[in-house]
Symmetry: C2
């Protein structure tokens, strides 16, 4: 049964924004997943009707309980299913009878578990196709919507901050861990999370189409092990990527990885060079690991777009200058040629033996003005105002507390600089004692400045941002293509 | 004047282990570098004689002060010089008269500052050659020896932990920052640090020869912008690398980086593919950035050598399994084929639908035994004992505190496992909330298990360790060459 695209997208929307939800397999036993599932829905403040389904109980966590989905009196737009795999087909038939529009199947024991599981998948997919229901999963934690508190997560999760980033992850558990990691280490908030599991029906493309229309989603991050319908993915992602940046981490890129993915989510491997070509054609940003994924999510979430590809580097210690210059070339960017105005201004604050250039060795200025804070403020202001500088990478160093030479009060440095909002992308890296790194990261990210532990990652992030926003423009640098 | 190698090495030893030291430019003014230089020597407990040199003072920090080096009565093996560049030639002549064997010139304003500076360098090098003195620098913070408390650092530094790693850094400031970073974030200690600055005389090869003989140096890390005498570097590093691992971060690899290095330390760029070939021939490990440098320093400092190239991966969440498998292939390692004994043992603790393989999805075992701690202990013990597993990568995940499912007490997990000392390399990565990451890192690194923020970096570190220790052995994997 084929559906028109609009209807399909509408049904996916229901999985994130259901009017009423049945929780099949809800329980009051905190040792079981069915407990946390219901707990999360209540704790995160989901405003719709919640119907626990469990034939052995009258009420669960204070909510009236039903023996079967088709015994629920009110509207049930979505059902979350967390019962043993063998029982899922019957639950599906009950859902079909109740005219449920979408189900999230959290249970495992399907395609990832062998031949019997594959058969079960075919059976439930048949039931869904017949009734027009959509299936998310199985073998997943499902969805989370920070804007209405709706979730199908069955692991205890913290109440998330709302924000511009939405995530599609093949595996729900991975999505949950990523969620906790982002909430406690990253400066931005989240909008929607989808854990797709075995992807027997709803896939990356369906979710992308929903995110395309979702006004609260500005940046999309994907973790995938396999893509089922490559042609449709290319078509959809290409359209969505014109509006919103899509960053993808696709594993199972090697023979060994492909084998592992088959066991994990039953994904069939795509030849890696083919997938690479898909990403290039669609204009989506492919990354190599979780660290790079998080690095790029951060800059896309909190940085303004650059107006060109010319980087200004302000580094303390010459080593930072040299390594930054290497990185700028490696990531296909250019070093800005500082304007005469900037040069003349900085010349006043540089000792006679100092060679003024970009990357700027800010240590020279510190030596002349005798104060790290003043040298940083002067340099940053000059670069911020210089029309030849499209974006800035700041490389800070620090010693132990009490070694005054490079210590700066971040609040004071930035109080004089136009940074609210910053008009150019500005990223910072900090090599210092742990104490100073923590202090600088916290303070700077609060001001909307992404920080990274390595200047290579600074420039890599700026490179990705630039390639996305300047795509199609006539860039001068030869290596400057996506 | 040519010296025989033995004598040259002896003189470099004097720069790290001098019998007596003159500090030319010592001062009591804490705003000046000459203050911290003397302060560090006293605070770090250097046991030799210290002679401050300053024509305007009788004593400095309680030590008798001399107007010139050649007025010092006792033996002066090494002089540290921190006076304006223009005054350095005269100080050098005084040192020559006093038969000083080595000088560390901290002053800047030499080759890195233009034509006049280059002339000055030629002049002081002439004086040194005539008298047989060696020069470290100029434009550097010089040396640090944690074993005798000797240092020429003029920035305030913490008292370092003794340990197996010695560092050669082209730029002294960078070395000082790296030192603080290592002391506060890394689990190992340091032996010697050399900041070479403009390298007009003593270079990487000289220091390598000293480290070759130094019984306290087990691992050598280098940051270089240029190598002056490539032929000698190849010859020396090749010999030293047979005995001790050498990890090198060489910047100025691109056209832009080369230009920046010229301004910074006056280094002439080496074509990058040539330097790559030198590293391969010499058997030294080349890294791409500071993060990779630190990653490898850690594993080489605290891990035992592997006996083969077969990796066992224990990962929570299937995504960790898939990405680990990709990484194992990418970094030229193999996935271990688990022994029957291991398989039979693990089978008892796996639910019937679970597919047992390597990478091991330890989540399956957790589901069966109902406890993350027990599942981790069981898996680790099995892998530790399996003769087919040469090294282990553990991928841990965690949620918020209170989500019990993946929380483990590291002390309890490892109390039952042979880990003192660990007989196989074991590394761990942790994706979790910040709180849990900090806890696991601390606990595991105290047990001698290097941790990384990314499983890609886990495997990259294991790959480097394996390539170094198994070099020359008949490895089966085709991509397995250094």
């Amino acid at each position: 049964m084929m559906m028109d695209p609009e209807k399909r997208c509408g049904m996916v929307r229901g999985i994130f924004e259901p009017q009423g939800v049945a929780v099949v397999g809800a329980t009051e036993d905190p040792a079981k997943s069915g407990y946390f599932l219901l707990r999360n829905l209540i704790d995160l403040g989901y405003g719709g009707k919640i119907y626990p389904v469990n034939r052995n109980r009258e009420t669960i966590l204070g909510l009236k309980c039903y023996p079967k989905v088709n015994k629920i009196p009110g509207e049930v737009e979505t059902a979350i299913i967390i019962v043993p795999a063998m029982e899922v087909p019957q639950v599906m038939r009950d859902c079909a009878e109740k005219k449920v529009k979408g189900v999230v199947i959290c249970s495992s024991g399907f395609g990832e578990a062998g031949v019997e599981g594959v058969k079960l998948e075919k059976e439930i997919l048949g039931i869904a196709r017949e009734s027009g229901m959509r299936i998310l999963g199985p073998n997943t934690t499902g969805v989370m919507n920070t804007y209405n508190g709706f979730t199908s997560s069955f692991v205890k999760i913290s109440k998330p901050r709302k924000g511009p980033v939405s995530i599609i992850a093949q595996t729900g558990m991975f999505a949950s861990v990523l969620l906790e990691h982002i909430l406690t280490t990253q400066p931005y908030g989240l909008s929607k999370i989808a854990g797709l599991g075995n992807k027997i029906d709803v896939d990356d493309s369906d979710i992308l189409e929903y995110f395309e229309e979702d006004p609260n989603t500005k940046v999309i991050a994907i973790y995938a092990e396999g893509i089922r319908d490559g042609r449709r993915f290319l078509e959809v992602s290409r359209r969505v990527a014109m509006k919103k940046p899509i960053i993808i981490l696709k594993s199972a890129r090697t023979r060994l990885g492909g084998k592992a993915a088959l066991t994990h989510t039953g994904s069939i491997m795509v030849r890696d060079e083919i997938f690479d070509a898909v990403c290039k054609t669609a204009g989506i940003i492919r990354v190599g690991d979780i660290e790079e994924l998080l690095d790029l999510m951060k800059i896309f979430a909190i940085s303004p777009p650059p107006r060109g590809d010319r980087v200004g580097v302000i580094a303390y210690t010459g080593a930072g200058c040299v390594m930054s210059a290497d990185a700028v070339e490696s990531y296909g960017l250019r070093l800005a040629e500082l304007s005469n105005k900037t040069m003349n201004m900085l010349r006043m604050y540089t000792p006679p033996f100092g060679i003024l250039t970009n990357p700027l060795d800010a240590e020279l200025i510190r030596m002349k003005v005798g104060d790290a804070e003043k040298s940083m403020r002067l340099s940053l202001e000059a670069f911020m105002k210089d029309p030849n500088v499209d974006m800035i990478s700041l490389v800070m160093v620090g010693l132990t507390k009490g070694s005054k030479i490079w210590e700066v009060d971040v609040g004071r440095v930035f109080s004089n600089i136009e940074l609210d909002p910053p008009e150019k992308p500005l990223v910072a890296t900090i090599l210092a004692s742990r104490e100073l790194i923590d202090y600088y990261r916290e303070e700077m990210e609060n001001l909307g400045i992404p920080t990274y532990p390595s200047l290579l990652r600074n420039i890599r992030a700026l490179g990705a941002l630039t390639r996305y926003y300047l795509k199609g423009r006539n860039l001068t640098h030869p290596s400057y293509s996506n």
